[in-house]
């Protein structure tokens, strides 16, 4: 169950993080590393595409909580897209929709960043 993969693409000034597989306490450090790289490279506008994510635990959710402040303090944000219902339900349970913007498609999230430029 431990298969997890994370990679980042650049679309204009926005970084899109693709997460795939199972994001739990075992694999959350990989996502944390990806965010560290973005912060080091001063890339603060982020869309996380969950299209291929099968599972997320609280350890994975904690990573987003840890970095959203840094991104917003630097005129960026973390926006979420392409969540499956069962993954979204966990975010919803914890009240994340109040804190984060969720989009059906990553292009919608990118468009929102453009509007904010």
């Amino acid at each position: 169950m431990a298969d997890f993969n994370v990679s980042t693409r650049e679309v204009g000034s926005v970084s899109i993080i693709d997460v795939k597989g199972y994001l739990d306490a075992h694999t959350a450090p990989d996502l944390e590393n990806e965010f560290n790289k973005l912060v080091s490279g001063k890339q603060f506008k982020v869309v996380v595409n969950f299209d291929n994510l099968k599972y997320i635990s609280s350890a994975g959710l904690g990573v987003f909580m840890a970095y959203v402040e840094t991104m917003r303090e630097n005129n960026g944000d973390i926006k979420f897209s392409n969540l499956k219902d069962d993954v979204y339900n966990i975010f919803d349970l914890l009240g994340f929709p109040v804190l984060y913007e969720f989009y059906k498609d990553e292009n919608d999230a990118l468009a929102k960043f453009k509007l904010q430029d």
Binding site: H26, L61, M65, E69
Partner: protein, 142 residues
Amino acid sequence: MIKKNYTINSDYKSVSTLVGEIKKLLELVGASPKETGEIQMCLTEALNNVVKHSYGGKPGNEIQLNISLYKERIEFEILEYGLPRKNTGKPKLEYDPNDINNLPEGGMGLFIIDKLMDSTEYSSDNGKNIFILKKNLVKKLF
């Protein structure tokens, strides 16, 4: 009723592997995908909490998981010998969405378990900690 017993090492990879096995077991006995997902989530949170908090992230310690499968419910009993929980009250997750400097990065696991399971009990006696999680099933097993 079916009983299954497992013992794993106190590390995240072992938890992940065990939860994968439980998922297959639940699918085999006919649990619904929704309930299987919820149980998978709760077991991951509960077992990772043992690794992180009871054993301080150190591998080489024992975690036992006993499962009792009934037609209309499932019970999980997690036994370990690490540090007992300090706070055993009902888990709360309260934060101010406007106060972005004080968002919680942890403490969500027990809250999730409390929301998704039908009942939980925690006890600690003579160095043995027991966490029991019970889930009533909409779709009968077997």
